[in-house]
């Protein structure tokens, strides 16, 4: 369901400020005389649909609360949390050292909670016979060291690399996890020739049309128009297809936790929202939006 929704969404997923317009105000339908608590949730574009689904269900139970969910990217949400312009930051990556220091300088202790898991899927054109790659092969492909499909057992086609823009949590995760083999501060970079796509939609579209292309996106975007590549941790490990089960059991090698960040020990509506996200109902919503529940 989530995949379908995203495909129809404008490609202006991240940077265009377009998303600011997509701010979803969830109205509780309570009498206007009642005092309402307002909750600002901001951050990862990967998680914006999840956040909205949570907010809608939460408001049905707590009609006195107003919730606004916006995207903009994980870093945008974290910056807003530190600056006090949002109450909860959605993030598809852990805090960076830099951000911890910024928070510390302002006397804020950021509390993090893992609320769901996400798998990053490597996709190629359906006509590409390559269907399984090791992490090392993926690394060399995206570093620009392997330039033709022939090298990894495919036809003699050039490889066209598709990556997300640098403001995407998915970009950073893929770089640190695949290119730098888990070392966040490694020297490796995406090949300069890698095309930087403004959205997962753009990656899906180009992969669907281009038999040379290889790209990556979140688990929720999987569609029959792209072929999913199974990934092995190393040469002696089995190739694992990304699915809810394989991400949850941590056998699929490219998966990541999704976080909610709050300022200090949460209280009031923030606390209630966090508890809701982790409740069985909240985790059901995680499944419905095509992510992987933690429980």
């Amino acid at each position: 369901m989530r995949g379908k929704k995203k495909t129809g969404r404008p490609a202006s997923e991240t940077a265009f400020g377009f998303l600011l317009l997509m701010t979803t105000l969830v109205h509780p339908g309570a009498a206007p005389s009642q005092k309402k608590a307002a909750l600002q949730i901001k951050g990862s574009d990967t998680m914006v649909n999840l956040g909205q689904a949570w907010a809608e269900a939460f408001v049905r139970r707590h009609p006195k609360t107003n919730i606004a969910v916006t995207g903009g990217g994980s870093g945008t949400g974290i910056a807003a949390l530190i600056n006090g312009t949002c109450d909860i930051a959605e993030s598809s990556r852990a805090l960076e050292e830099k951000e911890l220091q910024q928070a510390k300088a302002k006397g804020i202790l950021i509390r993090q909670e893992v609320v769901a898991l996400d798998g990053i899927v490597v996709v190629v054109h359906p006509s590409n016979p390559v269907g399984a790659l090791t992490m090392e092969e993926l690394r060399e492909i995206f570093l620009g060291e392997i330039r033709r499909w022939k090298t990894v057992g495919g036809p003699d086609w050039p490889i066209v690399l598709l990556s997300r823009e640098v403001n995407s949590g998915t970009h950073i995760f893929f770089k640190e996890h695949v290119l730098r083999r888990g070392k966040a501060k490694g020297p490796e970079e995406f090949a300069p020739a890698a095309l930087m796509m403004p959205s997962s939609y753009a990656i899906a579209e180009e992969v669907a049309h281009n038999e040379n292309a290889v790209g990556y996106y979140g688990l929720g975007y999987i569609s029959p128009r792209q072929k999913v590549v199974a990934v092995a941790k190393d040469e002696s490990s089995p190739f694992i297809t990304p699915k809810i089960e394989t991400v949850r059991t941590n056998t699929y090698p490219i998966s990541r936790p999704l976080f909610l960040f709050t300022r200090g020990e949460p209280g009031g509506a923030v606390k209630a929202f966090l508890e809701f996200a982790l409740s069985p109902e909240g985790q059901d919503i995680v499944v419905k939006t095509d992510f992987v529940p933690i429980k």
Binding site: P10, A11, S12, T14, A15, F16, G17, F18, G72, G73, S74, G75, T76, A79, K98, Q102, P158, V160, E165, V166, N167, I172, K185, E189, P192, A193, A194, L195, M196, M197, P198, A202, E205, E206, H209, N210, N212, A213
Partner: protein
């Protein structure tokens, strides 16, 4: 009594107009000062030569590599491609609409051009991704259709309405006597067009082209969607490029304030400002030269 009232009113209106005139100057100055203030700070992290001439753009790495040469060349290449496509086409279309087309067709064409101008660039970008990019890939046998050429085509589309409308106005502004005189002297319609009318309308046509180019170099959305955004120095028009505008749009959202990356994006803004200033200045010089003759 009445006349002093009127005088006061006139005085107020005069000052109000003066104020609006000054306001626009002040705004431009403020924008430039702000850009300068934020952008120049990048020089604390990198030298001017390394910034303008650097071949690698890895802004979020540690340490960040902030070379914008590929971005400058990308912007110039896409713009040059768009000019080559849009200017001749736009001028020819303007001549057709103003001088050749029958009156009924003229009305239809004019409204079509206006509709073209009304298409938001995001929508054009969508059409680009879904139709143009796959078509270019197949038709030209490229590794990917996300190329500078795709961007040039999109931009040419966007510049066309400006070029056509303003050129057409310039052609219509050529005094009727010139045309009548030429025809009375035995010139054919074609000779009148290329020898007489084009000369009269030239300053306007150049201004139209320059305005079109100005529209093109600042355009962001559609370009970002179809050019692939790879920060490599482009070798041909049929390779992916990353433009200055797309870089700012794609990265500003997440650049933390006060980082080299943030300052570098403002510095890119200055570079864009300087480029469009140079274009406007050239247009002005051309116009004045045209007038003196």
């Amino acid at each position: 009594m009445k006349s002093s009232f009127r005088k006061a009113g006139e005085f107020a209106i005069e000052k109000l107009i003066l104020l609006s005139g000054i306001a626009s100057i002040v705004f431009v100055a403020l924008i430039f000062i702000f850009l300068l203030q934020e952008g120049v700070a990048v020089l604390k992290h990198t030298s001017l030569g390394a910034f303008l001439g650097g071949k690698f753009w890895y802004p979020i790495s540690n340490p960040a590599r902030l070379g914008i040469l590929p971005l400058i060349l990308g912007s110039l290449l896409v713009t040059a491609g768009a000019i080559v496509i849009a200017v001749p086409l736009g001028i020819a279309a303007a001549f057709y609409i103003a001088e050749v087309a029958p009156r009924k067709l003229r009305a239809v064409l004019k409204s079509c051009v206006e509709v073209l101008a009304a298409i938001p660039s995001v929508v054009l970008g969508f059409l680009g991704i879904a139709l143009l990019v796959p078509f270019l890939k197949r038709f030209l046998g490229l590794p990917t259709g996300l190329t500078a050429f795709a961007g040039s085509l999109m931009l040419a589309f966007m510049a066309l309405p400006t070029i056509i409308t303003i050129s057409e106005d310039a052609i219509n502004a050529v005094p009727r006597e010139y045309k009548e005189g030429a025809i009375a002297l035995g010139a054919t319609h074609w000779q009148t067009l290329v020898r007489v009318i084009i000369h009269g309308a030239l300053p306007g046509i150049i201004a139209a082209s320059m305005l079109g180019i100005g529209r093109v170099i600042g355009e962001t959305m559609a370009v970002m969607m179809v050019t692939g955004n790879a920060a490599v120095i482009p070798e041909t028009l049929f390779a992916p490029v990353r433009t200055l505008t797309a870089t700012i749009a794609a990265e500003m959202g997440e650049a933390a304030k006060g980082t080299p990356h943030y300052f570098a994006l403002f510095a890119i803004g200055i570079v864009l400002f300087v480029i469009s200033f140079a274009i406007n200045l050239t247009a002005d010089l051309f116009l004045h030269r045209g007038k003196k003759r």
